[in-house]
Each structure stands twice: as C-alpha cells, then as structure tokens.
Symmetry: C2
Subunit: 555 residues, 2 copies
Amino acid sequence: MSNERVIYLPLGGAGEIGMNAYVYGYGRPGKEKLILVDLGVTFPDMDTSPGVDLILPDISWLVERKDDLEAIFITHAHEDHVGAIGHHYERLEAPIYARAFTADIAVRKLAEHGHPATAVKVVRPWPKMTEAGPFSVGFVPVSHSIPESAGLVIDTPKGRIVHTGDFKIDTDPGVGEPFDHAMWEDLGKDGVLALMCDSTNVFSAHEGRSEATVGPEIEKLIASAKGMVAATTFASNVARVKTLAEAGQRAGRSVCLMGRSMRRMIEAAVETGVLQDFPTTVSPEDAKSLPRESLMLIVTGSQGERRAASAQLANGKYQGIKLKEGDMFLFSSKTIPGNERGVIRIINQFSELGVDVIDDSSGRYHVSGHANRPDIERMHDLIKPQMVVPMHGEHRHLREHAKICDAKGVRGVLVVNGMMMDLTATPPRVAEYVETGRTYLDGSVQVGALDGVVRDRIRMALNGHVTVNIILDEDHEILGDAWCETMGLAETGTSDAPLLDILEEDLSQAMGRSARKLRANDDKLEEELRRVVRQSASGEVGKKPEVTVIISRMS
Amino acid sequence: MSNERVIYLPLGGAGEIGMNAYVYGYGRPGKEKLILVDLGVTFPDMDTSPGVDLILPDISWLVERKDDLEAIFITHAHEDHVGAIGHHYERLEAPIYARAFTADIAVRKLAEHGHPATAVKVVRPWPKMTEAGPFSVGFVPVSHSIPESAGLVIDTPKGRIVHTGDFKIDTDPGVGEPFDHAMWEDLGKDGVLALMCDSTNVFSAHEGRSEATVGPEIEKLIASAKGMVAATTFASNVARVKTLAEAGQRAGRSVCLMGRSMRRMIEAAVETGVLQDFPTTVSPEDAKSLPRESLMLIVTGSQGERRAASAQLANGKYQGIKLKEGDMFLFSSKTIPGNERGVIRIINQFSELGVDVIDDSSGRYHVSGHANRPDIERMHDLIKPQMVVPMHGEHRHLREHAKICDAKGVRGVLVVNGMMMDLTATPPRVAEYVETGRTYLDGSVQVGALDGVVRDRIRMALNGHVTVNIILDEDHEILGDAWCETMGLAETGTSDAPLLDILEEDLSQAMGRSARKLRANDDKLEEELRRVVRQSASGEVGKKPEVTVIISRMS
C-alpha cells in the first residue's frame, strides 16, 4: 500500500497554449488507475502545418492503457479543452463527465463522429463529487469567459489536487458563476498536495479587470458611431458576445449574429438555460432591410481566419451585407501571437473600404478570460498547496510561473508534456519520460506530426516539384527521351532556355553515360536521376526541387 | 509650358511597409522626365510566398521608360530602401546618388551582381543640390537609426517637394545627425507643394523617445546580470548596435558581434568614418575563452529568423558559444507583426535552456526609429506644405495619417502603389492607374508574384501531390496498369487499404470504362485522370491533391 503514488502526466497543454490533455494516476508504479482532464485541440499554421485541419494531442500512451482509464473530465467548452473529444473518443471509450453546458457541446462533438450522447454524464457542481476508481472529483465553478467553467478538486487516497482549469478572478463575469473566494479558500483548508494552475497571463503584471467594465465602454463607442457597427470576438467567448449584444441593444441597435460557430454557441447556451435574457437578434436576411445606423453585427473571425465572417466582410460582402465608408468595425479581442498577419490583412481591407477599425490597443474594449500574475498569486494564497504545478502555458509561461512560486517560498514544479511526475515523492520527481506529440487531422485522416507527410508538403512549398518519367526496354535501354513536368518552379532560368528543356537534356546525357548495371537497378537509377535533376535545377534556377521519378520498364 | 506637370507614383512602399520605390516626374503628360527615390525589398513569409528569397517591387513601368529616368536617389541604407538596387540595376542603368555611407552599402550590393562602383555617386548633404533633368535634389540629414539618413528636397519648375524618408525627431540619435528643427523649418519657408511623409508610427500616440534614453537602461540591466549577456537588434540598426556595445563596455564587458550582416554593417560604418569610437570587439574565437560574466554578445536575428545567430544560440550553440542557465538574452527590438511565431519559438527555446529572456514589453530597452504621431504632426508644422502625401505605411497607416491632416485643416492625399498623382492639378488628382506589384526573387530567378509559380507551391503545401503514370499503345489501349506516386499525403485513408492501391484501382477502372476517343486525346485524358484522382483521394483521405499526369504513348 505504501508504494502507491499519485502521478501527473500532461499529454498536451504544458509547453504550449492549446490541446490541453492532463492525465492523473493513482496506484502502484505502472499499475495506476487513470483519469484524463480535458481533451482539446490546437490550430495549425502555414509555417509548420500547412494543409492540416486541426492538431490533436497524441494519446497513444493513454490508448495503450485504456483499460485503466476510469473517466474523462472536461472543465469547460472551449476548443482547446473539448475539441478533440469527438476525434479521440473511439480510442478511449471512457465515460465523460462535464457540467450541463459543457456536456451539451461535448455531445454535439461526439455526434459528429457517430458516438452516442450517453457517453457524456452531466454532473452538478461542487460539493457534489464523482467517483472514478481511486479518485473522487468535484467541479468547482470558476469565472472564465464561457458558461459553467470549472476547476476540479481531485481527491486521492494520498491527498487532494486542485486543478484550476482556465480561470480569472472576476466577481462579475457576465456569464458563469462569479469568483467565490470563500469557496476556493475552503478547498484548501485541509491541505492540498498540488495546485495545477493556469499560467496563460503570467506575464501580465496588473490585476485583471472584470468583464463588467467592458460593456459601458463598448456602449459609448457604439453610441458615437454614425453608420453600421460590426464587432468580432471569439465565437466561444460567450461572455463577450453577451456583453457586445447588450451594449448594442442599450445603444439602440438591432443585433445580428453572423458566423455559424457563434450562432451555434449562443444557441447551445440559451438552450441549456445558462444564458438568460440574451437580447433578441435579427437574422442576416432581416438585417439587410434595417437602416445601417440601427444595426450591430457580431461576427466570427477575431483572429483573421480566412473563411470567417470578418474576413468575408473585409473582402466586400457576407450574407448580403456590406460595410462601407463611415461604418465601424471593432475587434473586441486580443490577437493571439502568430495570427497578426491575418488580422492586419483584414484591417487594411477595411481601411480600403473606408471603414474605421477599432482594436484593443486602448485596452478599453477587451479583457482577458485568464488570471493575470497578481490573480495567479491570489489563487496560490487561497489554496496554500504543498506545491504549484504551472500548466496551460508555453515553456516561458511555465518557467516564469515556477519562478514566481520560488520567489514566494512555495514549491513550483516545472512539468512539460511527456514528463510523468510522481507527486507523492519527496521532493516530487520525474518518474518517467513518455513519448508525446501531436497528431494532425489532415482532411479526414489522422497522421502523426513526425510521419513525414506534412514535412514533404513543406518541402514542396519551399523547393517546388519535378516529375521525371523514363521508359526502359527489357535490355535497360531508354525508349525515347527522359520527360519532365515541373510544378512550382520558374519556367526559365539563367540560361534563358526553358527549364524543362535543360532538365530533359541533362537527364538524357546522364542516361547516355550511365552504366547498364545502374539502369538495371530501379533504386539506384532513381537516386541518380533525382541527383541530376536537383543539380540541374540548382544551376538553372537556384532551387533544389523535390523529385518524383517514374521508371517504366517494358517487358 | 503650362501643361507641364509634377507627378508622383509609388511603385512600392505606399500600402505596405517595405520595398520602397517612389517615382517623381516632371514634364508634359506622358513625356515626363523621371527620378526614382529608393529601391528596396520586402521579406517573404510562409503564408503567402513560401520558398521565396526576397520580394522586389515590380518596376516594369519604369523599365519601359528607362530613357526618361534621370537618376536614382537612395535616402538611407536600410534593406527596404536600398535592397533591390543590385537586382534591378541592370534594367534601369541610371546614375545612383547617395550620401557616403549609403553609397558604400549600395556599391557592395551592385558588386554582388557585377555592376561597377562608378554607378554610384556620393553626394554631400543639403544645401548642396544635384541636378537631374528638370529636378534639383538635395539630401537633408535627418535622425533615424542608421548613419547619414536623409530626407530629400526635390525642386521642380512648379514647386518644391519634401520627401522625409524614414525619420524620427531625435536630437541625440546616437548615429547620424541630430534632428535640426531650424533647418527643416527653413526648407519650407518659401512654400512647399507637397510633403511626402513617413507614416510607420502614426498609431503611436506619444512623442517618440530619444535613442539616448536606451543606453543607461541597458547598462543597468547588464550590470544586474550574473552570467553571459546576449542582445539582439536589427543588424542595420547601427545606432542600437552602438548603444548596446557602449552599454556593454560601460558595464565592464567585452563585446563580441555575431552574425555576418551585423559585422558587415558595422565594418562599413567604421570604414566610411560615420561610426567613430565604436568599442573594441573580440572575435567569437577569443570570446570563448573569456569568463561568461565578462562577455556580451550582440547578435543578429531579432525577428526570429531561422538561420540567424539568435536562433542558433537558442538551438544550442553558435560559433562554439553556448548560453545556459543563469545567462540573459535581451531583445532590444520590436517584433514586426507577422514575425511573432519565430520570436516566441526562440524565447521558449531559451526558456528551456534556463536563459532569462528580456523583451521590449517594459518599453525600456528599445525605441523606434520612426516618428510617432506627435512628431509626424511636428514635421507637417515645420514644412507647412500645400498637401501632405502619407507614405511608408500600410493602407491603415496612410489612411490614419490622411485623417490627421484633414482634422488639422491640411490637405491629406491618400496615394497607394500604382496611383499616379498629378500634384500640380487643383485639387491634386489621379492621372492614371499603373500596373504595379511584386517580383519574387526565387532562388536565382525573378518571377512575377502572379505568375502562378508560388501559387502552385502553396497548393501542393495545402493539398499534397499525386503523380499518375500510364502508358498507352498505338491503339490507345493501356499497357499494364495505371501507376501512382504520392507526396505529402497520408499513406492510408478511411478504408484502411493503402491510398496508392485505391487510387490505382480507381484509375484502372476509369481507364477500363473510358471511350477510345477520350484515350486518344492527351488533354482530355489528362483532365479525366486528374478528376478521378482528386475524387478518389477526397473520398479516401479528405483531400483534393495537385495532380501531375504522365501519359506515355508507345509507337
């Protein structure tokens, strides 16, 4: 009994902001019973994952131990916490626990993959606890930016873990429960082994502001507008959509929601009863016939996504509605690092249309859903754990968070994806390093990030592609000439002759001087022809393309 | 004589920050004599220009009129102002005028392309004027961040134009001449037709700070450091490199410059005598043997560039030097929008090494080289032009700048690339829209941005590539089976059979049911086989790949 331990193993979310997936285990080493907290996605980009649709955590380790997986707990309904549940459920098949609104979203995601709604169990919040093997887990309401966000109390035979989930300290968060200091303090009163704590905003030095401060500013802004007003925020930031809609209504405008994901999210929130008194909205169809000074659009695409409503409006038109000179577009959002190019492209397009764009540079029209540094420290102080384990952050965030702990005399433990920590060791230590990584949803297929599929696409994007075709007779003599096709390469290079002619000439010469033995060996011949093409293209256009060699043998 | 006019035509730099290239003309409509101000580059990114090495302005319009091009004037030696001179000189062959340091850099760029140094004429600053056809042009020293930056006075028979170039208002800029209010005011005293004015920082509401304020802060920071200190800034920000080196020296450290472009730039500045008293530096070889607390590296790669010194240090090692736990890395720079991912990657890598990264979020360790809004307005007030034409900005910057002018009762004229403005018309009007755009330096070849070369590479990156090979006999019957190769696609899809097998099976079936007439027509057969592959791949892996079809006919 005494060698049973509590382990913590992030498979995603520790060393990145996105695809949260945290495993906890209890039992004898290697025999632990497991639970999973959250199963989210992250988003691809052209630099590292062109053509990829979604990035999922690699859960192979967990799949190998699915018989020991007692349950999955989802803290809240943001994509980086629930987005992979539909894609991965089949391989895990454990019961999923969530509060009602989160469960509603999870069920929709499972349904897209043909899984039954019965997989998801709706739980009531703390102090109600759910038993899962050796664990007893409670959902502690916490303020964030989406309804029914929760932290988790995870009780084990060797002590309590508090997992904050995403949180901010906001006593008037618009949606979801206000932050309840007394309740959180109460969680820690009998001692807490470890606090797993959101690190997103650890570099923000000032106390966070309440969602309630945003509405009046936005209302003033809208009241000052002469033409149509459009505003964007994350579709899943239900609190902000509500703040925007209410501000629009108070400013005397009809509100129209545009973009499928936003309409869906608001529908789910209204249906499950967590979003009450949401202003009446008009359809895009009806909006078209309203005077522009009476209309406010709330639209998707705060991150400059190419197909979202904001990008389409910036391009000229969306669902029959156009913005024009004298209208206003508000980014009630922060641009996530890496998305600047897309956002700036939209701002410039609006500028060309004569639309005035207001962004968050003044700090008035957006507040974060995450705890800033003083609020993170407040959480430490409320829970008073034996150790703090920073999570939900890139390495720089986790390290800074751990340094803050050290400075206060609290043990801060820096754990990144794949580090299995034995939390019951003194001091806590790495029990094992586990292979983790990213799985790409690529079209309808999952591929490993390191499988080479996307690497090959990046190489073609950087270097272009050449197809080489030769036909050999049964004596390994070439029939006709070598034949090339290029894609993504200049048509002519330094010698001013067509690149294709140069490549084909060089290939023919190489074939002419090649040994019969080489020509008899497909692999070696392919390698030689690839080398010739790369050298020839390099001399001619300064690029070494990817090469596909097709050798046909007549017999 | 009376219908002679002054025209202004930006070919680059108006509607973007980068690849500056501004044409001025004087003469009868269509017969104007021309000068070009600046000929810079901009930098590619993976989203829009994968594999591209540099982006140059498309100067076709100017090349068609090269006989009317009297001269090229380069305001300063930053890449976005001088970087294309080597690549484009051959097509223009006009004399190039610049101050000594800028000329030194221009000569190096011409030499890389085999052009003689005699193409570049060194000019002394205002009040010295250079005659170029109907124009008389003076280089007016102005504070920026590189030695010998200049604005231009461009006198025409119909009035004076003042072209600010890149500028800030700094009376202690570190390198280059202090801003001379009286001299600039003097330029405007007899009336100015138009002020072409830098717009880069129009959204920065506060007066800009002097370069001189940065050094003491950096010195304090270095003095607080226990281990090695490394700092990065733009290689071409000679003022900052000097500020950093002097701060390091004052803090008692030996300074080592790392990264070829930075060493070259400083060498050029020292050689031409514009950078005096630069601290003695140690070579990377010698640096290795110094105690780490006595060493300061100044390195390239402030924008996260993958091959620069900063990225290599973050990866583990550069020229034998490693950073480790307890060392400090300073970004004395602003991240240009779009470069965040690369910079953050480096910060996280340093975090993993235990290196403390200091960025500019405090505002203490970097000031911009461009005028903020109050300083831009100050320039308007000094010159008192008949009109202000915002330049050096994206559309949003130009528009904001023009709005500021309107608000003050000064005529602001929004001109973007390709708009030829008749500045002598009342009011100034668009004389013509000229085709402009971007030319990609792709390997060793220039390709048009709209030629489709890069578009095809992007498509391969998003969709993958399939090569189809079939061989037909003289009766248009297939010999053997269709044969495929894929690149950048998953090996297996929804049916769990190899994707190649599925594609080849579907192609064989399509061939089997095809009409002889179709098989006899290469174009139609190719189109049909492409359609089959895309449909088959879409069903199997959810992607529609790019397809190269190779049809061989035996005869």
